[in-house]
Structure formats: C-alpha cells, structure tokens
Symmetry: D2
Subunit: 368 residues, 4 copies
C-alpha cells in the first residue's frame, strides 16, 4: 500500500554507511506543533523539512520575525494572500511538504489530523498523531517507554495526551522495578495554556465524570494494570499536578520508589524545600534555565509528597503540558521509522539530543 519513497531502512544507523537523516514535517504549528518542530530540529539524525499552518497566527508571525528558520507550508483551504500580504513567505502546500518527508507529526486541531491522514496514505508516508485525535486514527496508541516495541515499523502512531504521557512515565518506572497492579489517580488539571484566549475557567473547580480518560488510556497502553481516576479542572496555566495511589504486586516502599524515580531521565525529583512549591515553580525554572520557550521536557516528582498507606504508595507529579509529549513523539519517529529497535536505545538518543537528564541527581542534599 505504501509507496517506498526511498530505501530508508538500508542506510540508517549503520557505522561506516552513508547516513540519511529522516525527513520530518509538522502539521499544525500551535502549542504542540511548534515544540515538535523545535525538538525534531535538535535531533542530529532527523531533518525538519517544514511546518504547516492555516493562518498567520502569532506563532507563525514569530516564526517570520525569527527569520523563517523553518519553511512554511499552507494547510488545505488556507489563503496564500493572508500570509503574503504581511510579507510571510509560503513555500508550498501541505501536499508539497508531504512529498518531501518520510513522516509527518500531526498536531493539527482535533479532527483535522484524521482528515490529513488521507493525504498521508495517498502519498505513502507515515505519521504520528497527537492526543486530540481519536485512537482509531492510528495503528498503535504509543508511549516511548511503556510500549515502544509496538510502534516499531508501524505506519500510524497516536501519542498519549500530555497528562497520560507523564503519568505513564511514572507508572512504567514503578512497574518495571516492582510490578504494579492498580493505580488510582487524581488529576488536578490546568485548563488553558499561557496565552490561551479560546478557553478558560474563572474561580471554579470543574469535575468530570469518573473514570477520567487518562486512567482508561493508561490501561490501553499498559493492559496488565487496572487504573481509575477523577479529574478536576483548575484555573491555572502552568502545568497539571497528578496524585497517584499505587498498589504494587508487593508493597512498594518510599525509599526504593524514590531511588527508581531518581534514575529515570525524564523524571525530575525535587522537594518543596528546594523551592519547587508547585506547578508554577517548574515553569519559572524552565525559563530561568534558558530553555527554548522556557520549556521542560521532564515531569516533576516531589520527593516530599511520597507517603505510604496500607500496602499502597502515594505521590504527586507535575506535568508540563506544553512540552511533555515532545520526547515520546520523537521516540515514536524512531520506532515508526525503524531507527532503533529497542526502547533503551531510542529513548537514550532522544534524551541526548534534547538535553534531557544531563543534570540528574544534582540537588540530592536536603532531599527527604
């Protein structure tokens, strides 16, 4: 079905061979799409060919003001004049971009990805969709750590949502070390991203019907675990916090759990005594670190939130909603394109190029 655009498998990752970079396009240059583009551009074995959008949004204007580091292609139905009359150069249409890439990362608004998929199929390229699309859009519902192997060589992956991606990191970390039976989560969700004007909540907590979709999604990715949860929306923009009550195959003690979390490259263990007082501290810290857009790829985990209760262990994690799915999506490229054949190699390479985990265990002292 899929036309072979170039013999990618032959040349990849072989020492001494001519190395071809995987060519990647990004559809939808919004909050996630911008960060996918930046993340791919940092991968030495990938090439960001271009990005697609529909209108000269602030993100596109910023791209232009930066001097067009990425070529811009128009989404279907976009008006070329809307860009050109303010001087923004358009390289072509989404079809032109598809023609030049091996894989598309689709971060279009929910539902558009499913429509774009028809174009991808037609041109025989692979694609990775974000959490807003329905599961049916993809062959595999994917997470870089928890089910990397299932994504290898597949044509269409769908990433878990931001909360689910971060949650699974922590769950998978414990599951590999101790075995996990059940998880009960409480998601304290941010309702909007910084700069969002199309959604919001003012002085109100909003509860969804239980169980939350994140718990259900976790079970889809990790079918040997039972999970449930309650989600409460809160009027903040700087990140989600999730509390987890985990029932292990045997009792998981705080000390050994903490040791596992600290080893995980995409989990940053912190304490309130260090100054990480909540979600906004992580946001501030990412900016102070000089990260691009002030982003954090790691989830946070408060060492001083870990408590034992009965046979269970409870703890809280912080989810930086804007950037958390970027590493796992790039893992997905490695899987779908057969670039690495196991999780350890794939995630290590992603981490290396994104600069994740360089600083593990630096602020040990003073931790509980």
């Amino acid at each position: 079905m899929k036309k072979d655009k170039r013999p990618f498998e032959v040349t990849k990752n072989k020492g001494g061979c001519f190395m071809t970079k995987v060519r990647v396009g990004v559809a939808g240059y919004g909050t996630i799409g911008q960060r996918l583009a930046d993340g791919v551009a940092m991968q030495e074995d990938m090439e960001l060919v271009g990005v697609v959008d529909f209108a000269p949004t602030l993100a596109i204007r910023a791209l232009y003001e930066k001097g067009m580091p990425y070529d811009l292609y128009m989404a279907e139905g976009a008006e070329r004049s809307s860009f050109e009359e303010i001087g923004i150069p358009v390289k072509g249409t989404i079809n032109d971009l598809i023609d030049k890439v091996d894989i598309m990362l689709d971060a279009s608004p929910a539902g558009v990805g499913a429509k774009n998929k028809e174009l991808y199929i037609k041109e025989g390229i692979k694609a990775i969709f974000q959490g807003g699309e329905k599961n049916e859009v993809a062959d595999v519902f994917f997470h870089g750590y928890a089910n990397y192997e299932k994504g290898i060589g597949k044509d269409y992956l769908k990433l878990t949502s931001c909360n689910t991606t971060g949650l699974i990191r922590a769950a998978d970390c414990l599951d590999r070390a101790f075995g996990v039976d059940n998880i009960a989560i409480t998601i304290i969700r941010r309702v909007a991203d910084p700069g969002d004007y199309h959604r919001g909540l003012t002085d109100a907590l909003r509860i969804d019907k239980a169980p939350s979709h994140q718990a259900v999604d976790l079970m889809t990715i990790m079918p040997h675990i039972r999970a449930t949860g309650i989600l409460v929306h809160t009027p903040v923009t700087y990140g989600h916090i999730i509390t987890c009550v985990v029932h292990g195959k045997s009792k998981i003690e705080k000390k050994s759990a903490l040791a596992e979390f600290e080893k995980h490259p995409r989990i940053r263990v912190v304490t309130t005594d260090e100054g990480f007082l909540g979600n906004a501290s992580f946001f501030k810290y990412g900016r102070d670190l000089g990260h691009c857009r002030g982003d954090n790829y790691e989830i946070g985990l408060w060492a001083d939130s870990i408590v034992e209760i009965g046979d269970d262990i409870m703890f809280a994690i912080n989810i930086p909603q804007e950037a958390v799915t970027i590493p796992e999506t790039i893992d997905g490229i490695r899987a779908a394109m057969n670039m690495q054949l196991n999780m350890e190699d794939a995630t290590s390479l992603t981490n290396k190029y994104l600069g994740i985990g360089r600083f593990k265990g630096m602020f040990k002292k003073g931790k509980c």
Copy 2:
C-alpha cells in the same frame, strides 16, 4: 475549678420542666464567627447572647446596618471609640459577655483563642475552639458524628477544620456501614474565601509536604483508621474538593456506598448531569436557594465520581469551607453542655433547627 454559674444540668431538655436555653457567646465575628452566631440563633434551645470583635470590620458594619440583631462586645485591646465614632453601639467587653453565657464559641484569629481561654477558665465557662487553634487548647478534638460521646460534659472542645470536618462526615458514613481500614485523600483546596484580600494565589497550584494535616487529624478523631494524603492549593474561593480512595474492611461497592451517602443528612448527593459541575455550582445553588449568606451546611458528593478500583472505592466530595463546621460546632454545644447524651439525638436536633436534610433524595431520577 469551674464555678457553677447556674445549675444547667437540672433544667435541660426535660419535658414538663422549666426549660432554660443554653446561653452562647461568639468570639471573633469573621467568616466563621458570623455563621456560628447565625447558626446558634436558629437553635430553639439556645440563646445567642452576643458577639465579640476587635474593630469595625465590614462584618461588623453589616451587623450594624442590619440593626444590631446581635449585641456587640469588644475584644481585649479594642478601642471603643473606633466603633462609636461611626455610631455602632458597644454593649461591653468580652468579660461582660463571658459573665452572661454558659459557653463561648471561639472563632478568633489563630492563637487568640488560646489567650481567651484564660478568661474562660477564670470565669468558669466552657468553650469550643475552631480548627485554627492548636489541639492542646482543648480537652477533646471533636467531630459531631465521629466522636460525639467524647465531647459530652467536657469543658473545652476543638472542632476539626473545614476540610477535616467534611472529610470525616464521609469517612464516618462509610465506616459505620462497612468498616474502613485506610483512606488516601487528595485535597484540592481553595486558598481564600470570597472577599479575602489578605491571602491569595494567582495562576499557581501549590503543594504541601505530605501527609496533609487533615489526614493526620482524621486519625486523631478516628484512631482505628489509617489515613494519608496530599494537599494542593488552587486559586479559587468557592469551596474545596477532596478525592478519597477508601479501603474498607471488606470491598465496598459503589451501589451500597451511594445508598449510605444518600441517607446521610449532611451529605448532598448530586451529579454533573443535574448541573453540579464543580465547587462553584454548589456556591451558586446555596445563593439560589435563598440561604442566609448563600451558605451550604452539607458537603456535596458526586454520585458520578464514584468508581471502584481493585478492593478500593474512590469518590469526590465538595466542602463549603465557610459554613461546613457550623453544624458540628453546634453539636459540640449539645455535647459539652450535656444537652443530648448521644450522637443521633444531638445531630438530629442541630439538623432540624438548621434546616438540614429536609430535601434528601429529591432529585433521584437521572442519577447514575
């Protein structure tokens, strides 16, 4: 030690006897104090003699504008002129009030209650303190349902805080019906009351070190249960939400838990389909009901938040922080003053006079 100001025990609650109302004073006419005064004034077997405050706050100005339904007494160190120069009549000092009452409800700022206690001891009257005081201030750390008997005849009680009061209602409800071993809670806490300008949080979640004091307090009141929890502050004013993961002595099923919750007079079972979308819905509903100050005495419990996980049951409750401790405090008067000798009688009478539970089970249809 305690001087017998009048032979209260002889006259109380005896049919055919001359009935003397218990005389009650309230120290601290803030958010809680105002509501305690209103609540006592609704009890037919109690008399609100007066309230104490330090300065002409908005609450005191409103009292005046309403025509002084309650007499005002000055706290220690207050300046009479600060009231009188704007026309607000002062009946006397806190000592004058103490002289006229059988029991004081102390809702002064944290720490002031402990100082006031010296006055209460000196005059030989009883007192009930609010959650802001340290446990040592009281003989018994009290909850109207969970340990009513411990408060009977005692001189000094301390009420559980708002979150703990509401949480224990739900925990005690399940514990009586099924037996409870462990509880793991996540408190999604409002940081300020409506109209608060002395505290606040803007676009930030703040996490406290675990375990939260509410879990610890629950174990003090209900020592046969193990509890832990994580507390996250959120920038809202309309009420707390708590999620609970409860491990019963045997498996507690959703259906039977729901049945117990629905029988409890101080728990209002609702659904999101009815329109109770979050904490702000309860606040709005209390206003629409025409309640005084728009208050709710009941905690809310979302029927559609109840889920089972492994051997545990999980659900979410809503805590109306301004008024939730009022019924249990009034229960405390009944206990301390020997007005009723068991929980059922005491709480029933409090509920009756406060108008709690009149409407149980009205919106059954459409519930999950």
Copy 3:
C-alpha cells in the same frame, strides 16, 4: 395593534380607587431572570405571575427545593417530561403565562427575546428586554434615571447592560448637578458570574477594540454627552470596576461631586479605609447584610478614588453585575405601564420596595 387585555390605565395608582396590581411574567430564569422575579415580587403594586424556562437548570431545581414560590411555565420547545420526571410541577407554556400578564420581563438568552417578542405582539402585551438583545427589539433603549420619560407608555423597552446601567447612574448624577460634556471610561470587566462554567478566562487580561459598546450606549441614552472607552476583561467573578474621566461643562470639584454621589440612592459611597478594598468586598458585604442571594442593587463609588486632573474629574465605581439592572428594569415597568409619570416618583417607589438607600450616609466618619 395591541389588544387591550384589561383597562389597566383606569385603575392604577388612584387613591380611593380599586387598585389593580400590574401582572408581570419573567422569561428566562437565569442569573438576571431570577433576580427580576425576586425584585418584582417585592413590589407591592406588582404581581409576579410566573417564570419561564427551558430546562431543569440549577436555578429551577432551587426554585423547586424552595417550594415553588413562583409558578413555572415552559419555554417554546421545552420538554415537559424533563421537569416532571424529577417532580417539578409545570403550570403551562409561555403562551399560557403571556395570557395572564400585562408585561413580560424577557431575560432569555441573547436572541431568544427577539423571537419571544412575536408572541408578545400577538397577545398584545408589553415587554422589557435585557442588554443581550439588539437595540432594534425595542421602541426605547431605556435607563430608569437618564431617560425615564422616553419609556412612558411604550410597548417595548430594552434595558442597558449591567456596566452601562451602573455607569449611567454615575454619569447622570453628575450631569444633572453640573452638566457633563465628555466621558472617557476604562472598564475592568469581570468575565463570568459566580458559578459560571460556560465562559471564563484564566490568568489573562483581554482587551476589546475601542470604543467599548458601553460608551457608545451611553451616548445613545444621553445624546448630549460624548463618550469613549476601553474595555479590558479580567479573570474575576465578583463585579466590574469602571474608572471614569469626566469633563464637565465647568470644572467639577471633588468635594461637590462627592456630595452629589452621596445623595444618590443607588450609589453607595465607600472608602478603602472602611474595608471596601475592591469588587469582592462589595460581594462579601451583600452576603453579610443577609440580602437575598447576597445581592447588591447599588453601585459602589470609592470616595478615595476621586481625583482632579486639569479640568477633569476622575473616579472609580463598582458594578455588581448580577443585580444592578434590576431596579432600572422595574422602573421600566412603571414607565411602560404608565404607573408613574416622572422619574422621581418611579425610582423612589422602586427603591422603597427594594430597600435601596435606607442606609445612605451612615458611615460618613473617616471618609476622605
């Protein structure tokens, strides 16, 4: 065109005559509709016949829980079973209600009022629409103080919006005393009402294109004044604040402006020293006063915000968005139904029945 349902004009307000109360219906039992119903029910010369709504909202459920103080009629397209299956009695349809009333207050969602108007025309009754409808729906765009005379005897009035209603009170107050040429306003707007879940804003100020519609509306009501303004939405629920820079026909001094504001029954002059620190203080104060739903009908005006600049005077007012239009709407009934023939008599009677202005000038001392 209009069928004469009863000879109302003959019997109104005549001493010695048999007095017929004006019969009023309310369409739309939301935030405004509930308060219109409550306000009309307080008028001794009016009778609230019933209210109309479409579905068993929280407001309707609260009406039921209160024992149906007002009869409920169904809006067009509503399903009777949605009410009856939870026990809420339905008296009839909107047409049944129209048949029984002299005038409808239409607080339906924006656009529905215009459709309802066809029913009103058909049955020959009058109506007053709220600010959400387009101006064309009405014969007169109405404000109780600023253009009462224009509403007398008219069939269809439209009230100014909440911000405009409050703004015009202050503008009209100065205009009558001193003459006003220009007004430049900055509206610091609340984005949602307490309990709103269908709109909101999180950690963001949002600016609208200038001039704001409120300034334009002011010029429609008071065509001899030039007005402009900028509106900024803020993530709060407890009320709007508007700053006004007013250029009078001659220089308006702070002292004389203050004296006029203090005389106005629907303006409450306060200071920050008294404890009115912002919009939330007014909200709290209304609750502490024991007002129904905690509402305030008066706008607030900070005496310590008044400053002079060049030939202009500047000051800030507080707009309680939920209830501020109620008095002027009831004035509108008096105008449309020919109940009073001048502004002073009409507003005085409305104020009397609503309990407005009883406390004017009480906290004089300490004001700047």
Copy 4:
C-alpha cells in the same frame, strides 16, 4: 569622596584607543536581577563581573545547572555552606564583587539596596537602584528616554518602576512630538510574576487610593506634565495594561499619535486582529520568538485601542513587568559612567545590543 578606581573616562568609546569595558555587578538575583545580568552580558561595551544573592533560590540553582555563566558572590549574612553543600561554587562576598566593578545594579529586596549603598559609598563605586527603593537612595530618579541627561556622571540613580517605565516611554513619545499637558491613567496591574508564591490575589480586583504612585512618579520625572491615576490590581501574572487619557498642548490625532508610536524602538504597535488579544498574547509571543526567558523589552501598544474624545486622546499599553526596566537601567549605566552624552546615542546602543526594534513596522498591513 569616591575613590577613583580606574581612569574610566580616558579610555571609553574612543576609536583607536584601548577600549576598557565597564565592569558591572548585580546585587539580588531575583526576577529583575537575573534579567539585568543577562542584559548587561549582551552589551559589548560592558562586562558582567558577577551576581550577588543570599540563598540557593531556584534562580541560583538554575544558574548552577547552566554551568555558572556568571560568578556568584554572597550577600551579607548569607551562609556559604547553604550553597556549597549542594555543590554551588561561591566566588566571594558582595565586598569582593564591589572591589572588582565600576558600578552595581542593585535589585535586592526593597530596603536592602539602601543598606548596600553604604558598601558602595565606602568602596567608591556607583550604583543604580530599582523602583522598590525609596527615592532618597539616589541622586536622580531616572528614565532612559525622559531625563537621560540628568543621569550623566551621577553616582546613584534610581530607576522608575516597571509600570512607570513603560508609561513614561509612551508619554515621552507623545510629549516630544506634540507636547503633553495632562495624563489620566488607569493601571490594570498584574499582582504576581509567573512562579510567585509569596503574593497573590484570587478572584478579586483590588483598588488603591488615588492618585497612584505611578502618576506621581511620572510628574517627578516629567515635571512639566500633570498626571493622576487609579490603580486596580487584578489576579494575573502576564503583564500590566494601562489606559491613558492624554491632553496635549494641542489636539493629538489618532493617526499622528500612531505614527509616533510606530517610530519608537521600545514600543511595539500591534492590533487585536493580528492576535494580540491581551497581556498573555505578548507573553506567549516572547516565548515563541525564542527570547531568553521568553522576555519582551518593548511595551505593547494596541493601535485599535486609540480613540479620540473631546480634545483628548486615549489608548492602552501593555507592560511586560519582568523585563521592561532592563533597557532603561542599562541606559542608566551609560549615563552614570559617562559612556554616552546624550539620550539618542545611549538608547540606540542599548537597543542594538539587546536586539530591540529590529523588527519595527513589519506587520503594518491590516492595522487599523
């Protein structure tokens, strides 16, 4: 009084001469101090020698995690061990830093700067204080555009606060072009910075007594203008918005005002149609531009907010509170150190090194 640490005047800025960079230290590595350090480090004619702080805050931890691009010196009273036990190298004390620099930028907590000044006097170095200190701390209350000449060669400058700095940019811009007599401002103030946990406001607007200090400060800097204003705090973190009603010496028309604003390098003229919907849009845009910490140095000015009223002109500006004072502070270094002798040269050089104004006038089309 001041010891001549090196003959700076001889060597500065002379073509062909040996060029000595001005050596700068920063005291207080908080929100402002971090940005001052970054800003100075970008100036090719300055050298950032080091920064001072008291404790291993998140900002200091981030500095460490970045590899100590700036040397760290300890504030008076700091404990060396608190840094060293977590591995953060300390270069010396504040006295050691003072010994190495020509000028200190003091962004310490309010009041600490005045104490530090004694050290600066003792060592004979110059200093620039931020808005939190009292005016008496400095010889000149300084703004880079409005009174640059007054700062030349002075020892101690104090910068205007963030709101005042931005406001004066706009006021000075109009004043130079048209002459300004009066300004009436409404400040819609953000209450906390992103990541702040020590202050906040929840669902409340708070009003200060008028006139606001910003209006008073403007008159100190620009004594030929009369200014007043009202300040309202709002629960947001992403920036202030100020509306200005300006009375010029002659009528200022929208078109000509806009032309002046567009020429100003530190004012970015935008429209809501472009997507700049409020303060949060600017914050997002700075991040999307890839600016360090996502900061903006420019104030925003909405072209579609400009309206004329009577003889006045009204408009709204956006103030990025974290970074707005950086350029004017760096201008202050140029003035105090005699590096440039007029405003145009000084501000141009600052702008050049900070990358300000490169993109002026890019999105002209579609503007109102």
